[in-house]
């Protein structure tokens, strides 16, 4: 494998292009900042007449969030290592399409508003222009798909052999492990709750979404992993709920590995055992437990003391056979 070529391509796809998408999307707002009505027209009816407006700052925030989401999508998939070639290409193309379209739509919006005395006097949004946005999205999607075509499964090798905890035959045992999130997840959690409180002052309903995001993040700020004769249980968050269970009978073997969150698609519960036959519970970088399940499925869990846990699971499996 040409590792350095891949690294350069990943950097281009995962860092350079996402930044370019955000910059290009926001550029017209900065370039023409003195020549736009306040608020500016952001929505047009089928005849091309403006029928909706938004403060300039509102559009800046909206475009930042949308372009940021597309850029984050590109970034995540570019660094992803546990996916097949086609999966990466398609995901990159989708993120690129979204990013290209957002950038193009923002350019059209700003140009239509240029030098208008008020948003109702903003220019028409013509059909060719709208088609152009689809073309821009398509072009970026094609570039990303082409660049991403060679990036394939280079999942890091399992470290060490088959661990054992040295459980005596006939003995019973339990292993309890835990993992705590780093500051990033805590910052997002606290930020979301702060946003929820702040938006609630304006409109209580608006606080619901950041509150849900905050709760979803809170659940991943720590996990507890319990391995015993029943199998493996993963209890999430401060309340130990929800709980995910894996039956011992469904486990073929357990090993330890090093987890890079970006290689698994980021933090949280990534993938799906049912659909992708691969899932990862990622709350931090570092050591993790890798469970090879029946039906060629793999579950990865970031947890401290993973080697001891993997050892006990293997011993329990050996005792049951």
């Amino acid at each position: 494998m040409n590792g350095s070529g891949h690294a350069a391509r990943r950097a281009l796809l995962g860092i350079v292009l996402p930044v370019v998408v955000i910059v290009v999307a926001l550029l017209p707002l900065w370039l023409f900042r003195g020549r736009l009505p306040q608020p500016l027209a952001t929505h047009w009816n089928l005849h091309g007449q403006p029928n909706g407006a938004m403060p300039v700052m509102g559009l800046v925030i909206l475009v930042t969030v949308l372009a940021g989401t597309a850029a984050a999508g590109m970034s995540v998939f570019a660094w992803r290592r546990n996916a097949g070639r086609r999966e990466i290409s398609v995901a990159l193309a989708a993120a690129g399409f979204l990013g290209g379209q957002i950038a193009a739509v923002n350019w059209l919006t700003v140009l239509a508003n240029l030098d208008a005395p008020g948003w109702r006097q903003a220019g028409h949004l013509h059909l060719p222009g709208v088609l152009l946005t689809v073309l821009a999205g398509g072009a970026l999607a094609a570039i990303l798909a082409w660049l991403g075509r060679g990036l394939e499964n280079t999942a890091p090798a399992i470290t060490g052999g088959m661990p054992s905890a040295g459980l005596a035959p006939g003995a019973r045992a339990v292993w309890v492990g835990r993992a705590r999130a780093g500051w990033v997840l805590w910052a997002v959690t606290i930020g979301s709750f702060a946003l929820a409180i702040l938006t609630s002052f304006r409109a209580p309903v608006a606080g619901v979404i950041p509150c849900i995001v905050g709760l979803a993040c809170l659940v991943f700020t720590s996990i507890r992993v319990i391995a015993d004769r029943a199998g493996v249980r993963i209890a999430y968050g401060p309340f130990g709920w929800p709980v995910q269970r894996v039956q011992l009978a469904d486990i073929r073997q357990a090993t330890m590995l090093h987890v890079e969150p970006m290689a698994w698609g980021g933090w949280g519960h990534r993938g799906s055992l049912k659909i992708m036959k691969r899932a990862a519970i990622v709350v931090r970088a570092g050591e993790g437990l890798r469970l090879e399940l029946t039906g060629e499925r793999t579950l990865v869990i970031t947890v401290d003391g993973a080697e001891q846990g993997a050892g006990l699971i293997n011993d329990l499996l050996a005792a049951g056979r």
């Binding site: 019973r172 045992a173 339990v174 292993w175 309890v176 507890r224 319990i226 015993d228 003391g305």
Partner: protein
């Protein structure tokens, strides 16, 4: 509400421990002693630090397939030794007297070895006194 906030705050800085507990029913040692002994060894080995929480008694009892009272008795023994603290709603936290745990564990090993060799309690005490 205050209780939820309190336990959330507690959660932010307290840590659950990572440990392995194995018990063997065929051993002559009672099960609660085996459990206490392994927790003590984890504290003595420095794997478990002050402020960390032990797994809930009910959870351990379920996983190890022993009576809840067996686990509670093990926790009680560790509390009496001053190694852990039991507080309502907060579970069992380690006080982190590592050296004390180490010494107690050594004493326990010494006692069981003496028993195995057929020494009486008085004889063992006399033996220990020789080194004081």
């Amino acid at each position: 509400m205050g209780r939820i906030a309190g336990s959330l705050f507690y959660y932010c800085y307290s840590i659950n421990i990572t440990m392995l507990i194995a018990i063997d029913e065929r051993s002559t040692e009672p099960l609660f002693r085996q459990i206490a002994s392994q927790i003590r060894r984890a504290i003595a080995g420095g794997k478990v630090q002050a402020g960390q929480r032990l797994p809930a008694a009910r959870e351990l009892a379920g996983s190890l397939d022993v009576n809840l009272h067996t686990v509670l008795r093990a926790f009680g023994e560790l509390r009496d030794e001053g190694l852990v603290e039991m507080r309502r709603g907060r579970g069992v936290t380690v006080l982190g007297r590592r050296q004390q745990a180490d010494l107690r564990q050594s004493a326990r090993v010494l006692a069981s070895e003496a028993r195995r060799q057929g020494l009486s309690g008085a004889e063992l005490l006399r033996l220990v006194k020789e080194y004081l």
